[in-house]
């Protein structure tokens, strides 16, 4: 596994690692494509040879047809895009609320250990809780409309951002702050011009994690009283034993998830280019 040429390669990786990861050489791309293809082929063979029940593994063809029909004609009154739109409205509303609340609270907690002490027990308690455990309570409290769904997603997004912000602020070396104050910066200026930009990359990482959490809670959030949304679509499809739609939904969610993460990575590179250079 490890041989001399490899350890030399690693040497260059240590220096130029970031570049290498961004632009992997062709072979790796080919391999990735090959694996995806192989999975498709195996799926085709398994499902078309009647080796397994169409209910258990729907054929590639039927999933493709479901995908097309959902996209064009829609599923139960909404097209795929509308379903995605409904889900994203919930997700991004919750996500936006979480950013707006968790960032300032997290930054405050990072600055002041008393505030931190006040929030920590709540965060620590809620963070590991499975969303489904408190979903009923949320529905009791906030009703069956979007509020409870957004609240569920909000709770999923909040902790990662809060924790990242608090940790980022605590991490800032005193010299960064001292440099600013000795140059004449006021406390307010130190916060806006030093603490905040210093924490920004970590905050961004927290935000990305939060998005991941929120996304993976999407189906749970659409369990109750939804009539649209990609999560609801998958759930409804399982009510009607529509394996083809379930598979189509999973594929759409998987790809969307990858895309969202990619967008966040791109935004990160744009917005906090000093990440990794602190």
């Amino acid at each position: 596994m490890i041989n001399r040429p490899l350890s030399v390669k690693r040497r260059s990786a240590a220096g130029n690692g970031k570049h290498r990861l961004k632009h992997p050489i062709r072979t790796t791309n080919l391999i990735s494509a090959g694996v995806v293809l192989a999975i498709l082929v195996v799926w085709m063979i398994v499902s078309q040879q009647g080796i397994v029940d169409e209910k258990i593994v729907p054929s590639v063809r039927s999933v493709w047809e479901a995908l097309v029909s959902i996209s064009v004609e829609g599923y139960k009154g909404s097209t795929l895009l509308q379903h995605l739109g409904a889900s994203f409205f919930r997700l991004f509303t919750a996500f936006g609320l979480a950013i707006v609340t968790a960032v300032p609270l997290g930054l405050l907690s990072g600055q002041n250990e008393k505030i931190r002490a006040a929030f920590e027990p709540i965060i620590e308690f809620v963070r590991p809780l499975p969303p489904l455990a408190y979903y009923t309570v949320l529905v009791l409290w906030m009703g069956i409309e979007n509020e409870s769904k957004i609240a569920l997603l909000f709770l999923a997004c909040f902790a990662p951002i809060f924790i990242a912000c608090a940790a980022a602020v605590q991490k800032i070396p005193a010299s960064y702050i001292n440099a600013a104050t000795t140059l004449g910066a006021s406390n307010r200026q130190v916060f806006w011009k030093v603490v905040l930009p210093y924490s920004a990359p970590d905050i961004f990482t927290g935000i990305r994690t939060a998005m991941g959490h929120g996304y993976s809670t999407l189906v749970a959030a659409e369990m109750v009283a939804a009539a649209s949304g990609i999560g609801w679509m998958v759930l409804d499809a399982s009510n009607w034993l529509r394996s083809d739609v379930i598979f189509a939904g999973i594929i759409v969610m998987g790809i969307t998830g990858i895309l969202i993460d990619k967008i966040f990575r791109l935004a990160e590179k744009r917005l906090v280019p000093w990440k990794g250079n602190l």
């Binding site: 397994v52 029940d53 209910k55 939804a226 409804d236 009510n239 009607w240 034993l241 529509r242």
Partner: protein
Amino acid sequence: LTGCGGSDTDSSGENGLPEKVTIAMQPLTSVGIIPVQEDGFSKMDVTAEVKNFDSGRDMVNALTSDSVDFAMMLGICPTTVGLTSGSDYKIIWVDCLIRDSEGLVVRENSGIKDVRDLKGKKVGVTTASSGHYGLLCALEDAGMSAEDIEIVDLQPDAINSAWQRGDIDAAYTWNPTLINLKNNGGNVLLTGADLAEKGHQTVNFHVVRTEFAEQYPELVKQYCSVLADAAALYESDPDKAYEIVGAYHELSVDETKEQMSDEYVTLENQLSDEAFGNDTIAKNILEVAEFMKEQGEIEDAKDLEFFKNAIDTSYIEALLAEQQETEE
């Protein structure tokens, strides 16, 4: 992939019998609970393991993945959805003809006096359940359609919550939620009995995985015989039955009695015109299937022949024959 699930049908024990049978059930208040509570399945040649499910959908999935052999008290809707989408099982017993255990409740103070008043209101219902079908039938009978109201897809527990908070104006659901809503300011507008009169009979079944039935017909017959005993007990001593079912649900006899408001079908009546006789059931199912197809919920409604094939009354017939023998 078949057989990687939990059921042990493949690993035959002695006498060519499986080590155990697995039975899926929904904890409803019905005579089906009697053998569960009273260990009635011990009459069978192998041990029976009863597994609880929250919905008919999960029971059908369990049958499809060969995880269970029987499903008790499966509603007509999940039964139909499962059959039309290719799950392979046979209907072997009618648990009950739904009467008052399902119904449409509205808020007392909402001013809704009639199905037509539901126009534009929010109605809670569980998708793909017989309640869903019942609601749609009620609407159709009133000359309306699903578009005229706002259907809110809720599991029974969520119907409770939504009702509690006033998020919904009405709900089509079943016991115990139905009674719960009734006791919380609800007015029952119509029940399964009313629908049945209009020809929309809803039914709960017992089904068996086809492969299992072919392999162990004797066990299926024994299963039916256990059910026959339960129905007979209800017939002969309903108070005793209420006591047993109540014990299971930790309910009083009176509460149980209130909840057990359907027509439970005895062995003798299984082949009557109300049940399997005269293809009544098969036609019922076909109606549900066609209705669901109209609603765009399922792709293929199949035909009467298909559903007749999904019904296997041979076990009932065998039991009836045995009964006659012993009587003679």
